[in-house]
């Protein structure tokens, strides 16, 4: 009897781990309340959402140094922060990648890249990858727009042309922030876009 129980548990475990390996569906959906975090910024200081007392919401962007699609969006992220931080929606960039898999995404290289590009927003290291996993981020860049109560309002891409900013027709993220600012319903609250899969630590 005990043997059978053990077999049953093992089988269940196997099924679970297999399905888990094939596809993970954890993470936030629009309407969920996101957790706060305390992650190290490129200046060595820890940053949390609660530090932004005046914020009306947060533009959380999982991004990194190495990914061509993340690089293609750097100027757009800087412009977004320039426009929306003043309106109460600061950008908070988080690098979730394993620096062993991508040496370009190391903490030192984050500092370098931020300086080269003149990042005007915090660029945080998700060293344990726990925040990316909890949010459900799978790629870079991957955006989560939160309101001031940390309720997820939009998940997806910055706009409809991840590679070439000039070809963008619809600014999904900006539209969502504008709608929040105006107290209107967000028309498009999730978008799918191609990006670089986050490399998880083994």
């Amino acid at each position: 009897m005990k043997k059978i129980n053990l077999l049953f548990v093992l089988t269940l475990g196997l099924i679970f781990s297999l399905s888990n390996a094939t596809f993970k569906t954890q993470g936030y959906q629009v309407g969920d309340t996101a957790i706060d975090f305390s992650l190290k910024n490129i200046d060595g200081k820890m940053v949390s959402l609660q530090d932004f007392a005046q914020a009306k919401g947060f533009v959380i962007i999982f991004t990194c140094n190495h990914c061509p699609y993340a690089i293609a969006n750097e100027d757009r992220i800087i412009a977004l922060n320039k426009k929306y931080a003043a309106k109460g929606f600061p950008v908070i960039a988080i690098n979730p990648n394993d620096p062993v898999a991508y040496p370009d995404d190391s903490y030192d290289n984050m500092k370098k890249r931020a300086q080269e590009k003149g990042f005007n927003f915090p660029y945080l290291l998700d060293d344990t990858q726990d925040i990316a996993k909890t949010y459900g981020a799978t790629k870079t860049p991957h955006v989560y727009l939160l309101d001031k109560n940390r309720v997820v309002k939009y998940i997806g891409a910055i706009d409809d042309s991840p590679k070439d900013a000039k070809k963008a027709k619809t600014s999904h993220l900006a539209n969502a922030i504008d709608a929040l600012l105006a107290g209107k319903t967000i028309a498009v609250s999730t978008t799918a876009a191609i990006g670089c899969g986050i490399k998880w630590k083994k």
Partner: protein, 160 residues
């Protein structure tokens, strides 16, 4: 006579090895039809791009699988997405890719991504395993051993 035969054989091998498969440009409906095939051939559909480092890293494993399962009902389909055809052609030529090569000519990812897998956010690489109308989705890259195991597992199931 013998010499000529071996020379011919050698030339033949060289000629075969010197070229990659031709790349077929497709739309999303064509890709979806590959994913809906309802027969006992296992289709391994990998979505990749020349700019994606882990995709490029695992491509040789798919090529190995193509050779390894040549005489079985396995079809490896490498599908380049969000890329430029000349870049993909140059890459395929340089690596002499022998698997089936497709180039997805679509740019509105928000439209076509959910047609492949509704929970897919758009990260690459991803690989789909299709057999008898059943579609399984895998996000992330494989090691050579992992890919072999994934294919063998699905081949063995049908034998039981």
């Amino acid at each position: 006579m013998k010499k000529t035969f071996f020379l011919a054989l050698l030339l033949g091998l060289l000629a075969q090895g010197a070229h990659s498969q031709t790349i077929q440009t497709i739309k999303i409906k064509d890709l979806v039809s590959h994913l809906q095939k309802n027969d006992d051939t296992l289709r391994v559909v990998n979505l990749w791009a020349t700019w994606c480092a882990p995709c490029v890293k695992e491509l040789p494993y798919f090529e190995q699988a193509h050779q390894h399962f040549k005489n079985q009902k396995v079809k490896i389909i490498l599908t380049a997405i969000e890329d430029e055809l000349p870049k993909v052609q140059a890459f395929a030529q340089k690596r002499k890719l022998q698997s089936t090569l497709l180039f997805l000519d679509e740019d509105n990812a928000n439209d076509w991504i959910p047609q492949i897998e509704k929970n897919w956010q758009g990260e690459i690489p991803v690989t789909l395993f299709v057999k008898q109308g059943k579609r399984e989705f895998h996000s992330g890259d494989f090691t050579a051993e992992e890919l072999m195991t994934q294919i063998e597992q699905r081949l063995n199931v049908s034998k039981e």
